[in-house]
C-alpha cells in the first residue's frame, strides 16, 4: 500500500478507512451511511431470523428432494427452490463477507462514472438499470448450451456445479473483477493483467484472450449450423432477422433516432411474423427447396455473413440486433421461469446416469471430473465475463457499494438461466434426448439407426420407438430430430414442451420450438459479430506494436485484413467441426469449456495478485479468490492433460490421431474411407495442438500470478495501481431494495442529483 501507516480498522461494515479521509461538499447531505446506521441495519431481529431460517429450511428440503430422496420422478419446482434459496443465502452472507473483508468498497469515494462524467461513456447509471445492462451483456447462448450437454450425466452433477459453482467461483470472479476495474477507471482485464502480472503474464493473457475469442465464436457458430441444418423453417426465420435488423437500423438512423423501445417492439412483431411465416414457407414446395440447406452450405453462409457483418457500420446491423436480442432475452427468461413454476414438469431422468459414472457417454466423452466442469462453463464460472465486468460496466457504476448487487447478483441471475435450461433439457424423454444428441457417426442419422443405438445403451427406463422420433419431429415441424447435436434443438424441444403446456397446447409446439431456435440464433449471431469485432480490435492493437498504422481503426485496409484473419480463424474451426466424421460438437465442445475456464483462471489470477498487493490486512481473506482459482486451474489443466495424453481414443485427441494414422498407413478401411481417416487426423491434430497451447498458457499465467502474489506477501503489500481517490458528491442505495436508512438518506438527496 502507498501509505502503510494509514488507519486501518478491522471493524465497521464495509466502510473501512484504508485511505486518506475524503471530504465531500459540506453543503450536501452525507454521501454514505454512517457505521452506526450500517450496524443498525445489519442487526438481527426476530422477523429477520425467522425469514432466513425459513429460506434455509426450504432450500434444505429442496436439496434433499434432489440429492437424497431421488424418487422415480422429481418435480422441477425443487430445482427452482434449491437454486433460489441457495442464491439468496450466498448473496446475503457470502457476498457480504467478500464486501466487508476483501473488497471494502467506500461510498465516500467517487466512482469513475462520477469523476469522469461525460454524458456518454462515463454516466452514473441507476443500479437497477445497470443490472439489466450488465446481465444482457454477460448472458448469451452459453448458459443455454452447456447444461443441456451435461444432462447426459444425469441432473444432479450439473445442478450442484451450477449452483455451488456460481456462489463460490463465478459470482466471485465477476464481482471482484468489476470492483477492481472500477477502482482503476474501468481498465480492461488485459490492461490489468499487463499491469499486475508484468510483461510475460500480460502477453500470455492477451494471446489466450485472442485464441479464446476464436474458439468461442467457432463453437457458437457450430451450434447454430447444427440447429439450422436441413431445417427450412429455421433457416428462413433466422435469415429474416437480417432484413429485420437492417430495417430497424435504417429506422433509427433516418426516421426516428433514439426511439429504441419503439423500434424493438416493431422488430419483435416482425420477428414473430417471420417465425409464423417460416412454417408456411417450409410447407411450400419452393420454400422447402430453397431453404433446405446442407450444414456445409450454412457454415459457409455464416462465414461470409460474419465477415460482412463485422465490417458494416455498427448502426446498420449490430446495434439493432442487439436491441432485439436484449428485448427477447429478458422477455423469454421471465416467460420460461413463469412457465416452469406453473407447469412444474415431472423429471424422469435419473440423478446420475451410467455415463456420469463411466464417462463414456455419446454426447461428450470423459469422466465427470474434470469434464463436467468444462462442459458447463457459463452459468457456473465463465471467464468471458471478465471482459464485460472490466471495461464497460465499471464506467457506469454510480456508487462503489452497488458492485455487489451488479457483479455478484448479475451472475446469480445467469446461473438461474442455466438451471432453467437444464430443467428444460431434462423434461423431455431421455431416449429422445440421446437420439437428438448422439452424433451421426453413432446413429447413422436415420430413425432406425437412432432407435437401435439408443436402445442399445442399456439405460434403465429408456425404450424408444421409431414412432416417438417421427412423431416428435412432426410436432415441431422438422423433417427429423435425429442427431441434432449442439444443445440448441434439445433446449428448443424442452422449452416448447414446457411452454405448450402453459400456453397454446400441442398445436403451438412447432411455433415454440422455432421461437426458441430463433432466440438462440439471435444471441449467437450477435456474439459472432461482436466477437469478431473485438478480436479484430485486439489483433489490430497487437499488430500495431510493429506497424503503428494498424492501430488506426479508421484505416479501412487494416480493418479488412484483421477481420479477414479473425474470420478465417474461426471459420476454419467451424468447417472442421461441421465436416468432422466423429461428430463435431462432442469433439470440439471440451475446447470451448477449457478456453472459457482458462480465461477465468487468468482473471482470478489477476485479482489474486491485486489482493496480495493490497497488504497484510487482506491476506486472511485471500482464500476467497485463491480457492476458485485453484479449482479452475486444476480443472483446466487436468482436462487438457486428458485431452493430450489419454490413451483412450474417445478422450485423448492424440491417441485418436495415432489410431487413425496407423489405420491410414496400414490401408485399413474398417474405420472409414481414406478421406474420412485424413479428416479425423487433421481435426485431432488441430484440437490436440490447441489443447497444448491452452495448457501452456494456463501454466505460465498461474506461475506468474503465484510469484507476484508471494512477492507481495513477503513485502507486506505491493504497488497500489488504483486511481487517486476523489470524494464523492452523490448518493444512491446499494442494493435492489433500499433499506430504511438508505431510503431516508435518498430522500435528503432528492432534487440534488
Amino acid at each position: 500500500m502507498s501509505s502503510p501507516s494509514s488507519r486501518r480498522s478491522q471493524s465497521g461494515a464495509g466502510a473501512v478507512v484504508d485511505e486518506p479521509e475524503l471530504v465531500s461538499d459540506p453543503n450536501l447531505p452525507p454521501t454514505s451511511l454512517t457505521p452506526e446506521q450500517d450496524a443498525k441495519t445489519s442487526r438481527w431481529t426476530w422477523p429477520k431470523v425467522a425469514i432466513w431460517v425459513a429460506i434455509a429450511l426450504l432450500g434444505a428440503v429442496a436439496w434433499t428432494m434432489l440429492a437424497i430422496v431421488r424418487g422415480e420422478t422429481v418435480n422441477a419446482i425443487w430445482f427452482v427452490f434449491a437454486a433460489v434459496c441457495t442464491y439468496l443465502i450466498g448473496y446475503r452472507f457470502y457476498s457480504k463477507v467478500i464486501e466487508r473483508y476483501l473488497l471494502r468498497p467506500n461510498d465516500k469515494r467517487a466512482t469513475p462514472a462520477e469523476v469522469k462524467q461525460d454524458g456518454k461513456d462515463f454516466v452514473p447509471t441507476d443500479r437497477r438499470v445497470l443490472y439489466g445492462h450488465h446481465f444482457a451483456a454477460i448472458a448469451g447462448a452459453g448458459p443455454l448450451v452447456g447444461p443441456v450437454l451435461a444432462a447426459q450425466m444425469g441432473y444432479l452433477p450439473g445442478t450442484i456445479w451450477i449452483i455451488v459453482g456460481v456462489v463460490f467461483a463465478g459470482a466471485v470472479q465477476d464481482y471482484t473483477v468489476l470492483f477492481f476495474s472500477m477502482r482503476r477507471g474501468g481498465r480492461t482485464i488485459g490492461q490489468m493483467a499487463r499491469q499486475e502480472l508484468g510483461r510475460i503474464g500480460g502477453t500470455a493473457a492477451i494471446i489466450a484472450a485472442l485464441l479464446i475469442m476464436i474458439i468461442i465464436v467457432a463453437i457458437l457458430a457450430l451450434v447454430v449450423v447444427n440447429a439450422l441444418g436441413e431445417s427450412p423453417w429455421g433457416v428462413f426465420s433466422v435469415a429474416m432477422t437480417i432484413p429485420i435488423a437492417l430495417f430497424m437500423g435504417v429506422y433509427l438512423r433516418f426516421l426516428r433516432p433514439g426511439k429504441v423501445t419503439e423500434v424493438s417492439i416493431i422488430g419483435f412483431v416482425l420477428l414473430m411474423a417471420a417465425i409464423i411465416g417460416g412454417g408456411w414457407v417450409a410447407g411450400t414446395e419452393w420454400g422447402a427447396a430453397m431453404f433446405h440447406l446442407d450444414r456445409g452450405v450454412i457454415a459457409w453462409g455464416l462465414i461470409i455473413y460474419g465477415f460482412i457483418a463485422a465490417i458494416l457500420p455498427v448502426w446498420l446491423l449490430l446495434a439493432p440486433r442487439d436491441y432485439l436480442s436484449t428485448f427477447m432475452k429478458i422477455g423469454v427468461i421471465v416467460m420460461l421461469a413463469g412457465a416452469i413454476v406453473i407447469v412444474r414438469p415431472e423429471i424422469t431422468v435419473p440423478a446420475v446416469t451410467i455415463f456420469g459414472e463411466n464417462g463414456m457417454g455419446p454426447v461428450f466423452s470423459g469422466s465427470l471430473f474434470p469434464f463436467l466442469f468444462v462442459t458447463i462453463a457459463c452459468g457456473a464460472l465463465s471467464g468471458f465475463h471478465a471482459l464485460i465486468s472490466s471495461g464497460t460496466t465499471p464506467k457506469l457504476v454510480e456508487k462503489e457499494r452497488q458492485t455487489r448487487f451488479i457483479g455478484y447478483g448479475g451472475m446469480l441471475m445467469e446461473s438461474f438461466v442455466a438451471i432453467m435450461a437444464l430443467v428444460a433439457a431434462i423434461s423431455i424423454d431421455q431416449g429422445i434426448y440421446f437420439a437428438m444428441n448422439s452424433p451421426t457417426a453413432l446413429t447413422g442419422g436415420t430413425v432406425e439407426g437412432a432407435v437401435a443405438f439408443v436402445n442399445s445403451l442399456g439405460l434403465t427406463g429408456v425404450n424408444i420407438t421409431p414412432e416417438m422420433l417421427t412423431g416428435t419431429a412432426a410436432d415441431v415441424g422438422e423433417p427429423s430430430i435425429v442427431s441434432r447435436t449442439g444443445g440448441a434443438p434439445t433446449l428448443a424441444l424442452g422449452l416448447a414442451h414446457i411452454m405448450q403446456q402453459a400456453l397454446g397446447g400441442q398445436a403451438l409446439m412447432a411455433f415454440w420450438y422455432h421461437f426458441a431456435i430463433m432466440f438462440e440464433a439471435l444471441f449467437i449471431l450477435t456474439a459472432v459479430d461482436a466477437g469478431t469485432r473485438v478480436a479484430r480490435f485486439m489483433l489490430q492493437d497487437s499488430i500495431g506494436a510493429w506497424f503503428p498504422k494498424f492501430r488506426d481503426v479508421s484505416w479501412r485496409p487494416g480493418v479488412w485484413i484483421c477481420t479477414a484473419i479473425m474470420v478465417a480463424g474461426w471459420g476454419y474451426i467451424l468447417i472442421l467441426g461441421v465436416t468432422d466424421p466423429l461428430g463435431g460438437i462432442n469433439t470440439f465442445f471440451p475446447l470451448f469449456g477449457i478456453a472459457n475456464q482458462l480465461l477465468a483462471a487468468i482473471a482470478l489470477a489477476v485479482v489474486m495478485a491485486i489482493v496480495a498487493k493490497r497488504g497484510k490486512n487482506y491476506l486472511r481473506w485471500l482464500w476467497i479468490v485463491a480457492l476458485p482459482l485453484a479449482f479452475t486451474a486444476v480443472i483446466t489443466i487436468t482436462a487438457s492433460m486428458y485431452k493430450i495424453f489419454s490413451p483412450v481414443p474417445a478422450i485423448g485427441y492424440w491417441a485418436n490421431n495415432f489410431k487413425y494414422q496407423e489405420a491410414l498407413a496400414a490401408g485399413d478401411t474398417s474405420l472409414g474411407e481414406p478421406e474420412v481417416l485424413e479428416a479425423v487426423i487433421r481435426n485431432t491434430a488441430v484440437q490436440g495442438t490447441l489443447s497444448i497451447v491452452f495448457v501452456l498458457l494456463t501454466i505460465i499465467v498461474m506461475i506468474v500470478a503465484v510469484v507476484v502474489a508471494i512477492k507481495a506477501i513477503r513485502n507486506g503489500g505491493g504497488e497500489n495501481t488504483e486511481d487517486e481517490p476523489v470524494a464523492s458528491n452523490r448518493y444512491a442505495p446499494a442494493g435492489f431494495i433500499p433499506t430504511r436508512a438508505e431510503r431516508e438518506l435518498e430522500k435528503d438527496w432528492e432534487g440534488r442529483l
Binding site: 454524458g119 456518454k120 438499470v129 433514439g258 465463465s382 456474439a527 479484430r536
Partner: protein, 78 residues
C-alpha cells in the same frame, strides 16, 4: 348508498393507482434499459457542465454514439 359505492370504488381506485404506478415503473425501466433516455441524459449533463456550448442534436448524438461503437467495439458474451 354512498358508503357502499365508496367501499367499491376505493379499492378499485387504489388498484388503478397501483397499476398506473407499476406501468410507469416498467416504462421508466424499459426506456432506461434499452437506451431511449440516453439523449436526455447527455443533454442534462451538457447543460450542467458546458452551459455556454451548443449541445449536439438528437440525430448527431446518435450518429456520434454509433461511430464511437465502431471505433471501440464492446464484447457480448457467449
Amino acid at each position: 348508498m354512498t358508503t357502499q359505492t365508496d367501499a367499491v370504488t376505493d379499492p378499485l381506485r387504489a388498484l388503478a393507482a397501483w397499476l398506473v404506478g407499476a406501468g410507469r415503473g416498467i416504462r421508466w425501466y424499459m426506456r432506461n434499459l434499452m437506451g431511449d433516455s440516453a439523449y436526455e441524459t447527455y443533454l442534462a449533463h451538457h447543460r450542467r457542465q458546458h452551459p455556454d456550448e451548443d449541445p449536439m442534436t438528437e440525430r448527431q448524438f446518435w450518429r456520434d454514439r454509433m461511430d464511437e461503437q465502431d471505433r471501440n467495439p464492446g464484447a457480448r458474451c457467449c
